[in-house]
Symmetry: C2
Subunit: 170 residues, 2 copies
């Protein structure tokens, strides 16, 4: 009843747009995806002027500066998340990080768990593991119990995610 929210809403924009060396624009080439593709797509999703959550999903990979812009997160934060094992972006031949759209989606969930729900990184790790395990559990149950029971399980899981404020699209 009392149950205060304890949402801190730290992070996010205490810093003016100072041109510090860590929020650049044009990425180095990738040597994996067709040369320059990441750069192009990143530019495309930035140009329309919409700023945050509702960026249209696009296929492709992004180097860290572009991924950071898309997510509105600090590049150092993304690096730290990788060090802690929360995400695992690919690498170019030159060892540059490459964030896939799947990584971006995962990072959005991480951002929600951290900012909106106030979890620390251990909690984020736990929640991600829980989501992952629940989804595979759903698969197994559907395989074992047949399609209609599987559908019931899917519905229940949907309700669960909803009541836990987990933005999982299944």
């Amino acid at each position: 009843m009392t149950q205060q929210r304890r949402v801190q809403a730290r992070r996010r924009a205490p810093s003016p747009p100072l041109p510090g060396q860590d929020a650049p624009y044009r990425p180095a080439d990738t040597s994996i995806s067709p040369s320059g593709a990441a750069q192009q797509e990143a530019g495309a999703s930035e140009a329309p002027g919409r700023e945050d959550d509702t960026v249209v999903a696009m296929e492709g990979v992004y180097i860290i500066s572009v991924a950071a812009r898309i997510l509105d997160m600090h590049p150092q934060t993304l690096r730290k998340y990788e060090r802690l094992g929360l995400v695992r972006p690919g690498r170019t031949l030159g060892m540059l990080r490459l964030y896939s759209t799947e990584d971006i989606r995962k990072l959005r969930i991480i951002r929600h768990l951290s900012d909106e729900m106030g979890l620390n990184l251990a909690g984020v790790e736990f929640a991600l593991a829980a989501i992952q395990n629940l989804l595979t559990m759903q698969q197994r149950l559907a395989a074992k119990l047949g399609p209609e029971a599987g559908e019931q399980v899917r519905e229940e899981l949907h309700l669960l995610f909803e009541s836990l404020n987990l933005p999982v699209d299944q």
Copy 2:
């Protein structure tokens, strides 16, 4: 692979057994349970000399000092948890907190989530809600799909809790 553990193991015994006023022994009477019952039972589960997790479950209620001794947690910590809505102990007529064995069990889970797994309190709240919702989901599915499918669900949930390191006995 790299994936370091990030277990901090803070709390727990940086303080010598100084006789500060907040770790007493004999509780005040309760006026709800038969007079002195809490005290007796607390004494019983302490006397055998075993110290921590494997205390045999007993029915009864405990005032905060006894509960704190049983759990090896600081009374102030228990009060703070109540303020945050994590536990909701009963009260005597004189407003003393009364912790049931169910509360004790819940507090053990909280302690595990916090100490062993490193979750902050927001994460603990999330995990507790997840556990609760999963258990009621299990009930609903068993009711809808019948006993054998219900048993399958129960098994899957057991595996889930296990792989998430959640000490839930179901």
